[in-house]
């Protein structure tokens, strides 16, 4: 096993305990649960577009906009932040490894671990909504959007988790002030918003109804495009890894 894979494996094992997996897993599944309960409440045959409206609100407004950021925030801020808090930084960094290897392994671990949880939620929402939507065509787009958004959020949150002591608070502020406030008010900033990058990926492969119903606030100036969204996420991941590697080279790694 290469050092890169060893770091990914141990990081996931160290940061994803049973309690955390259950808690965040339930949070991730809550969108599917909400859809199920709403569908029960609406009953069969009422409001023909209601099922789609609920799906749109839950997938874009709740799942991609709140649940994914919260899950990735908790996971991603701990992958390197816990090394500092648990005083294991010396074990990790005093190695004949390029700093970029350590940084990329940490970001990769955060993405895999987070997507393990958010992917389950996305899959469940897609499956639960399929009977009332009359199609399973939203399952894959939702999964792709989830993967892209998860990766982009992890790229933002891993450095925050290492650099800041109150990373969760700062991360939540970022989500609600930047993503929902400033990012919504200035559509041109959509290109650097993980939420909107995820929506862009989802919209590119979802049925056309999804794109036409999508509120402008949710996608900003972005055009639907899976490749473009994936590229943006990849750029964020690269920038994050390079920045982390630089931090590991230039800063004190213990206090």
């Amino acid at each position: 096993m290469t050092p890169f894979l060893a770091i990914v494996r141990v990081t996931i094992r160290q940061t994803l305990g049973v309690k955390r997996a259950i808690g965040l897993g339930l949070l991730s599944l809550s969108a599917a649960g909400t859809y199920f309960l709403t569908a029960l409440g609406q009953g069969a045959g009422r409001h023909p577009n209601a099922a789609f409206d609920v799906f749109l609100g839950l997938s874009v407004g709740t799942f991609l906009n709140i649940i994914i950021p919260v899950v990735t925030l908790i996971i991603a801020t701990s992958v390197l932040g816990d090394e500092r808090r648990d005083t294991t930084m010396s074990f990790l960094v005093l190695r004949p490894l390029k700093r970029i290897t350590i940084a990329a392994a940490k970001v990769t671990a955060a993405i895999l671990e987070s997507f393990f949880l958010t992917g389950v939620g996305a899959l469940a929402l897609g499956i639960v909504s399929a009977p009332r939507l009359g199609t399973t065509a939203y399952i894959v787009p939702l999964l792709v959007g989830t993967l892209v958004a998860t990766a982009a959020y992890c790229a933002v949150f891993v450095p925050i988790g290492y650099l800041l002591k109150r990373a969760t608070l700062i991360g939540l502020t970022y989500v609600f002030v930047w993503e929902n406030g400033i990012g919504g008010a200035i559509p041109a900033l959509a290109g650097i918003s993980p939420w909107r990058i995820g929506i862009s990926a989802m919209a590119a492969i979802a049925p056309s109804d999804f794109v036409t119903q999508l509120p402008q606030f949710a996608i900003g100036d972005l055009q639907p495009g899976a490749a473009g969204a994936a590229l943006k996420a990849l750029i964020l991941i690269t920038l994050s890894s390079v920045a982390l590697a630089s931090i590991l080279r230039r800063r004190d790694l213990a206090v």
Binding site: T2, P3, A6, P96, D252
Partner: protein, 316 residues
């Protein structure tokens, strides 16, 4: 390890070099203008709590950067040349353990991060060296403090580094484990490795090595052989224990000796403070012969590391 003739803080065959290094955290100066070097063999790094030992060791390993000065491991800065970490094993003072891993997994992880071809085999060897083979299958989260320390030592040794930096490695170990680890460190030093051990337990350092670097208030307070350091403290009188069959007679005679500051009689023993150990040593047999006193013991009382260290700390 060959100590430089003109400066006991430096060694000729240095593998670790510290040049005019300072470190400050905001307004607090943790290490101030320290110059010293370490070579093959075992060196004890001494200092009271908060003296700057841990900061110095962290700078040595590249874990923190000096605010001023330069550190080199085998000629280069490990932060700039990470391949140097193949040569360094570090046992930090803090826990530094992944509690979900077993002892074996932890040491194997260390081997993998060091790029070893056969991490499992290397881990078993390292665990055997610290005497932890039997318990290594348990999660380290449930280990006693002594077992945790030995696990950290095993992880630091797994890639067989030539430079071992050990920050309070004996903390929490029981006497048997301590003796085992001290023997291991001495053996590694005897094999030609550079072993740097910080400890506040002076008797342990004394058992390990004669060469010490003492840090007090972030500054280099003394370096070299313990006896030589003591003898260099010319402003502090020596304490000598003299035992004889007629202590009070001998005490009365010694109090007139020009090099003697004080004499305390305690049963058959005299505790003498003198500024001239050698002079007293040569005068005593003559005085005893003249008074017909039979001497049974003449021994310096404060050439121990503890005494030397106490003087160093008090002097500041």
């Amino acid at each position: 390890m060959t100590v430089a003739a003109d400066n006991p803080a430096l060694v000729v065959d240095a593998t670790v070099e510290v040049s005019e290094v300072s470190k400050w955290f905001g307004q607090k100066v943790a290490v101030s203008d320290v110059t010293c070097s370490f070579g093959p063999g075992l060196t004890g790094l001494l200092g009271p709590n908060g003296a700057g030992k841990t900061t110095l060791l962290r700078m040595l390993t590249g874990l923190i950067l000096p605010s001023q000065g330069e550190l080199r491991i085998m000629g280069s800065d490990p932060r700039r040349n990470v391949s140097r970490y193949r040569e360094i094993g570090f046992v930090p003072e803090e826990p530094a353990l992944y509690n979900t891993l077993t002892g074996t997994e932890y040491v194997e992880y260390s081997a993998k991060l060091s790029g070893l071809a056969n991490p499992g085999q290397a881990a078993q060897r390292a665990l055997a060296e610290v005497g932890l083979t039997e318990d290594a299958g348990r999660p380290v989260g449930g280990f006693s403090k002594g077992m945790r320390q030995r696990t950290k030592v095993a992880a630091a040794l797994v890639h067989q580094p030539h430079i071992l930096v050990l920050d309070e490695p004996l903390n929490g170990t029981d006497p048997v484990q301590r003796a085992h680890l001290i023997a291991l460190f001495r053996e590694l030093a005897a094999q030609g490795n550079t072993v740097i051990v910080s400890s506040h337990v002076l008797q342990e350092v004394e058992r390990m090595t004669e060469r010490v670097i003492a840090i007090v208030d972030g500054k280099l307070a003394a370096a070299g052989d313990i006896v030589a350091i003591r003898r260099a403290m010319s402003d502090i009188p020596y304490r000598v224990l003299i035992e004889s069959d007629r202590s009070r007679v001998l005490a009365a005679a010694l109090i007139d000796h020009e090099a003697v500051f004080s004499v305390t009689v305690q049963d058959a023993a005299l505790h003498v403070e003198t500024s001239d150990l050698a002079g007293l040593g040569s005068a005593i047999p003559r005085v005893a012969r003249d008074l017909d006193v039979r001497l049974t013991k003449f021994a310096p009382e404060d050439e121990s590391l503890e005494s030397v260290f106490r003087y160093l700390v008090r002097g500041r």
